[in-house]
C-alpha cells in the first residue's frame, strides 16, 4: 500500500511539473503582451513615455526573454509564494488568486457533495422502480440536465429567480452587506446567494451520475449473489442497500476523476455568468488581455487541484476495493 501511495505521489508531482510547462508555453505563444497595452495606457494618460522607461519596464518584466527563461523566472518564485505580477491589475498574482481559488474550491466541492448526495438515492430509486412514472420523469430530467449548457442554465435560473423570487441575484452578497463585518445575517445573505451557483454547477453532474448509478445498479441486480441474498430471506431493503448498492457504488467512485474536472469547468463558466469572485472570470479576462502570469498561475492551480483530487480518488478506491489494492501491490 505504501509503495502505491509513493508511486502515485511521484506521478502527481511529475504531472504538475509538465502541466506547468505546457500551460506556460500555451499562454506565452501569442504575440503582443500586456506590457505593450500598459505602455499605451501610460501614454494615453498623458506624459510621454521615453524609450528608456519602456526599456526599463521591459527589462523588469523580462518581456524580450525567450519563453523558457520567463518560465524559469516564474516558477522560481513559487517556493516564495511569488507568482509574478499581473500587468492589467497591477497587483501581485498571489494577492489576486487565493481568495478566489478558495471560493472556486468551496463551490466545486459543494457541488460535488450535492451531486453525490442526490444522484445515489435518485439512481437507486430509478433502478428499483424501473418503468414507472417517477423513473420516466427522472430519466427525462436527466437527459435535459445533461443537455443544457451550464451558462444557459445559470442564465435561466437567475432570470427566473429575479423575476419570481424578486431576490437580487448574482454576486456573493447584497449591496448593503458588501463591506459589512461578518455576522449571522451576512452569512444568511451569503447562503441566499450561493444556492443558485451550487444548484447550477451540480445539475449536470447530478444528472450524469444518476444515470451511471441507475445503470450500475441494474447491472448488479441481475447478478446471482443478489438472487442468493433474496433466496436466503433478506429483506428487500437489505438486499438493495447492503448487497447491491455497495457494489454499484464502485464505478461511481471511479468516475470521480471525470466528475471533478467537469465541476471545475462548470464552476468557471457559471461564475462568469453569475458574476461571482472566483477564478473563472479572472481567467477569461487574463486570457483576453494576455496577462500571462495571472492566466498561467490560475490554470496551473486549477490543474493542481484536479491532480490532487484524482490522487485522493485513487487512494480512496484502493482503500475501498481490496482487489485494486492487491493488484497494485503485486505489480
Amino acid at each position: 500500500m505504501l509503495i502505491v501511495v509513493v508511486r502515485r505521489i511521484v506521478y502527481m508531482i511529475v504531472t504538475i511539473a509538465i502541466v506547468s510547462v505546457l500551460s506556460f508555453a500555451i499562454i506565452s505563444a501569442p504575440p503582443g503582451s500586456a506590457l505593450a497595452q500598459k505602455i499605451n495606457q501610460l501614454q494615453s494618460q498623458g506624459g510621454a513615455v521615453t524609450q528608456q522607461q519602456v526599456e526599463a519596464l521591459e527589462a523588469q518584466y523580462g518581456v524580450n526573454d525567450p519563453w523558457f527563461v520567463k518560465y524559469v523566472k516564474w516558477i522560481g518564485g513559487f517556493p516564495h509564494g511569488n507568482f509574478g505580477q499581473s500587468f492589467t491589475l497591477n497587483e501581485p498574482v498571489g494577492n489576486l488568486i487565493w481568495s478566489r481559488l478558495g471560493l472556486s474550491l468551496v463551490l466545486s466541492l459543494g457541488a460535488l457533495v450535492i451531486a453525490w448526495g442526490l444522484s445515489i438515492p435518485l439512481g437507486v430509486f430509478s433502478a428499483t422502480h424501473r418503468h414507472t412514472l417517477p423513473d420516466a420523469v427522472i430519466t427525462v430530467i436527466q437527459f435535459v440536465g445533461v443537455a443544457i449548457p451550464e451558462f444557459l442554465f445559470a442564465l435561466v435560473v437567475m432570470t427566473l429567480a429575479a423575476t419570481y423570487l424578486g431576490s437580487d441575484v448574482g454576486g456573493l452578497f447584497s449591496e448593503h452587506f458588501q463591506g459589512a463585518a461578518w455576522d449571522w445575517s451576512k452569512f444568511v445573505n451569503l447562503l441566499s446567494h450561493l444556492w443558485i451557483p451550487l444548484v447550477v454547477i451540480s445539475a449536470g453532474s447530478t444528472a450524469w451520475l444518476t444515470r451511471v448509478m441507475r445503470a450500475n445498479l441494474l447491472d448488479v441486480l441481475n447478478q446471482q449473489y443478489v438472487q442468493t441474498a433474496r433466496a436466503k430471506g433478506a429483506t428487500e431493503r437489505v438486499v438493495i442497500w447492503r448487497h447491491a448498492v455497495r457494489n454499484a457504488l464502485h464505478p461511481l467512485v471511479m468516475t470521480f476523476g471525470t466528475t471533478f474536472p467537469a465541476l471545475i469547468s462548470g464552476e468557471a463558466i457559471v461564475s462568469i455568468v453569475l458574476n461571482l469572485p472566483t477564478t473563472g472570470p479572472l481567467l477569461v479576462n487574463a486570457l483576453l488581455n494576455k496577462d500571462m502570469y495571472l492566466a498561467g498561475t490560475i490554470i496551473l492551480m486549477l490543474s493542481a487541484l484536479l491532480v490532487i483530487g484524482n490522487f485522493v480518488a485513487d487512494i480512496l478506491l484502493a482503500v475501498v476495493d481490496p482487489r485494486i489494492r492487491l493488484e497494485a501491490g503485486r505489480s
Binding site: V146, A147, P261, A262, S265, S303, N310
Partner: protein, 377 residues
C-alpha cells in the same frame, strides 16, 4: 478437397450434419451491421432523434430559403422588436408594427395593429440569394409585403432577424461538433490502436500523456487555446482552428477506450491464429482488430458530439470561440448575457432551445447506437 465439392451439393440440399445449424436462422444470413441497424430502429426514441436531427440539418442547408430576411441585415426600425404577432385576416397574417419613441422614458417602443393584418405569403419573393451556393433565386418559404417584416423569433439589438440568424448559425454549430469529433476520433483511434497493439514503452508513454491531458480542466484549457487565436482572423480560419482545438482536447478519452479494446482483442486466439498463419502487423490491425473495434469507436464518437456542440456554444458565448461577424448559436446567445436583457427580450434565448434539442437528439442517438451495437451492456 471437400470444400471444392461442397458448393455443388450444398446449393440444393444442405448436408445432413449442417441442417441443424442452418435451420433456426434467417439471423445467420444477416450481416452484423444489418442486425445493428435493425436493433437501432427498434429503439423509437433514437429513430425519432435521427428524424429531428435530419430536419435541423435540412434547416441549415436551406437557411436562406427558410428565412424571410437576410441574416446580417441591420435595421434600426426593428431594434429589439418582439416576434411578429400572428393573426387571421382571410388567411394567416401578421399584425403590422410601427416604432415610436417613448419621450418620457426615452426608449423605442412598438405599437402593434392587429386589425389590419399583413397577409403571409408562401413561396413569395424576397431578397436574392444563391441556393446551395449556385442557383440564384429570390423565393422564400414565408414572406410578407415589403415595408413590413416577418420576424418569427423577433429581432436583436441591431434589428437583425433572430430566426434567420438561428438558421444560419446552425450551419456552424451543427457542423463544428461533427467535424471536431471526426478529427478527434481519427486521432484517438490511431493513437489508441498504436498504444494497445504495440504495448511496451510506446504504450506507457502514450498512456501517461493521455492521463496528463485528461487531468487538465477542459474548459480552462479550451479557453487558453482559443484565446491565443488572433482576434482579427478570417471567419473560415477561425472556424477551422476552433474545430481543431475542440478535437485536440477530445481525442484522449477515445484513445484510452480504443486502446482497451485493442489490447483485449490482441491477446485473443483469432489474432494468435492470424499471426501463426503469417499475417503482418498491418493486416492484423486493419482486418482483424479495427473492424472489431469500429462499432465501439462509432458509439463513443457519437456520444462525444453533444459535448463538442456545448463546448463551441460555451466558448462563443464567452467571446473566445466564434466571433461576430460569424454566426453560430453561441454567438447569438452571447447577445443575451445579462438577466435584464433576458427579462426584457426573452426571445433572444430561443436559439438556446435549438442547442438543447440538437444535444438531446445526439445523446439519444448515441445511446440507441450503444444498445444496438452491444445489446448486453
Amino acid at each position: 478437397m471437400t470444400t471444392a465439392v461442397l458448393p455443388e451439393t450444398g446449393s440444393d440440399i444442405p448436408p445432413p450434419d449442417q441442417a441443424g445449424i442452418a435451420e433456426p436462422s434467417s439471423i445467420g444470413e444477416v450481416s452484423q451491421w444489418r442486425l445493428m441497424a435493425r436493433r437501432f430502429r427498434a429503439s423509437r426514441l433514437a429513430a425519432a432523434s435521427v428524424i429531428v436531427l435530419l430536419i435541423l440539418y435540412l434547416c441549415a442547408v436551406f437557411a436562406t430559403f427558410l428565412a424571410p430576411n437576410p441574416y446580417d441585415q441591420q435595421d434600426s426600425d426593428q431594434k429589439y422588436a418582439a416576434p411578429s404577432a400572428l393573426t387571421w385576416d382571410g388567411g394567416p397574417a401578421i399584425c403590422s408594427k410601427t416604432q415610436y419613441l417613448d419621450k418620457a422614458r426615452f426608449e423605442y417602443k412598438y405599437r402593434t395593429d392587429c386589425d389590419n393584418g399583413v397577409p403571409i405569403r408562401v413561396f413569395g419573393r424576397g431578397f436574392e440569394y444563391k441556393l446551395f451556393g449556385v442557383i440564384p433565386t429570390d423565393r422564400h418559404l414565408l414572406t410578407v409585403a415589403a415595408p413590413h417584416k416577418l420576424l418569427l423569433w423577433g429581432a436583436d439589438s441591431q434589428g437583425r432577424d433572430v430566426f434567420a440568424r438561428a438558421m444560419q448559425g446552425a450551419r456552424v454549430s451543427l457542423t463544428i461538433g461533427l467535424i471536431g469529433v471526426a478529427v478527434g476520433t481519427f486521432l484517438g483511434a490511431t493513437i489508441g490502436t498504436v498504444s494497445g497493439f504495440f504495448g511496451g514503452a510506446i504504450d506507457n508513454i502514450l498512456q501517461r500523456f493521455i492521463e496528463l491531458l485528461l487531468s487538465l480542466p477542459t474548459l480552462p484549457l479550451w479557453l487558453a487555446l482559443a484565446a491565443i487565436l488572433p482576434q482579427d482572423m478570417s471567419v473560415t480560419n477561425r472556424y477551422l482552428l476552433i474545430t481543431l482545438i475542440l478535437s485536440l482536447v477530445g481525442w484522449a478519452g477515445l484513445a484510452r477506450q480504443v486502446r482497451g479494446k485493442v489490447l483485449g482483442y490482441s491477446s485473443s486466439e483469432y489474432v494468435a491464429a492470424a499471426r501463426a498463419a503469417g499475417s503482418g502487423n498491418a493486416r492484423i490491425v486493419f482486418t482483424h482488430l479495427l473492424p472489431n473495434a469500429t462499432s465501439h469507436i462509432v458509439v463513443t464518437a457519437m456520444l462525444a458530439v453533444p459535448a463538442t456542440i456545448i463546448a463551441e456554444t460555451s466558448l462563443s458565448f464567452l467571446g473566445v470561440g466564434m466571433l461576430p461577424p460569424a454566426v453560430s448559436w453561441g454567438v447569438l446567445l452571447s447577445d443575451a448575457q445579462s438577466v435584464s436583457t433576458v427579462q426584457q427580450y426573452p426571445w433572444l434565448l430561443i436559439p438556446a432551445g435549438l442547442v438543447v434539442l440538437a444535444v438531446i437528439c445526439f445523446q439519444l442517438i448515441g445511446d440507441g447506437l450503444r444498445d444496438a451495437v452491444d445489446p448486453y451492456s
